[in-house]
């Protein structure tokens, strides 16, 4: 999409270090703004939006769309999850919000299938399966 950040700025740094401190938590762009506002270390909201977008592109955070009328959710994905490079799919529970990471051969197949038979190159980082997780299904 875009060429991405090249300069290391104070804003990006503090944003990132904050995100690293809340792995697995999901938050909105506005949450981030408020957090920094209350810390006195403000970051302009355009910057927050722009940085979050960058981070999504870089695969450092994930973005979740629950409903077009509520704000988008983001979530920091711990580094280990990236590094094991065994391409990782994500399932997001719509009920409890849990994020499940799957390293699964069958899903790998699907990706190949979409590529070969439909000419569609799936972007795994961005793609999220929404649904209901085992636990939530059980208690329902």
């Amino acid at each position: 999409m875009n060429v991405r950040p090249k300069y290391k700025t104070k804003q990006k740094e503090i944003l990132l270090s904050y995100l690293e401190s809340v792995p697995g938590v999901h938050f909105t762009a506005n949450d981030v703004c408020c957090h920094f506002k209350s810390q006195g270390a403000e970051i302009g909201q355009s910057t927050v939006y722009r940085q979050l977008e960058s981070l999504v592109d870089e695969g450092i955070i994930n973005k979740y769309v629950i409903d077009p009328n509520s704000p988008a959710c983001f979530e920091y994905v711990a580094r280990e999850d990236h590094e094991q490079e065994g391409v990782c799919f994500h399932c997001k529970c719509e009920k409890c919000g849990k994020l499940i990471h799957l390293h699964c051969e069958e899903l790998e197949e699907v990706r190949k299938h979409l590529n070969k038979d439909h000419g569609f190159k799936v972007d795994i980082i961005r793609t999220v399966f929404y649904g209901i997780c085992e636990d939530c299904a059980a208690e329902a």
Copy 2:
């Protein structure tokens, strides 16, 4: 989630009969407005939104949320399709924005696989594969 329409109005009637004429086609609320505007048979946009919402609740059409910043997509699902549970999967091109819908046996398999082997019930309506479509991949 609401108590729904009780009166049969002209607007609802022509809206429905239009929808029935385009099964499997994706459209936005705005598309509907424009369609009727060009037909001279206008329906107010609030009415369009309200009726579409009703129809979603009634299970007559499906609503797809691709991205919070692009309009929601709707799709009339023919009665037979409901029965064969052949809801379709969506692929969204990150480059040109195209939305591709797939009725694909293999994807159906994945869904079953996730359910059976991972206990995860995929919500097809909300799940979107992001990636690069054939055309965009070609011209790159």
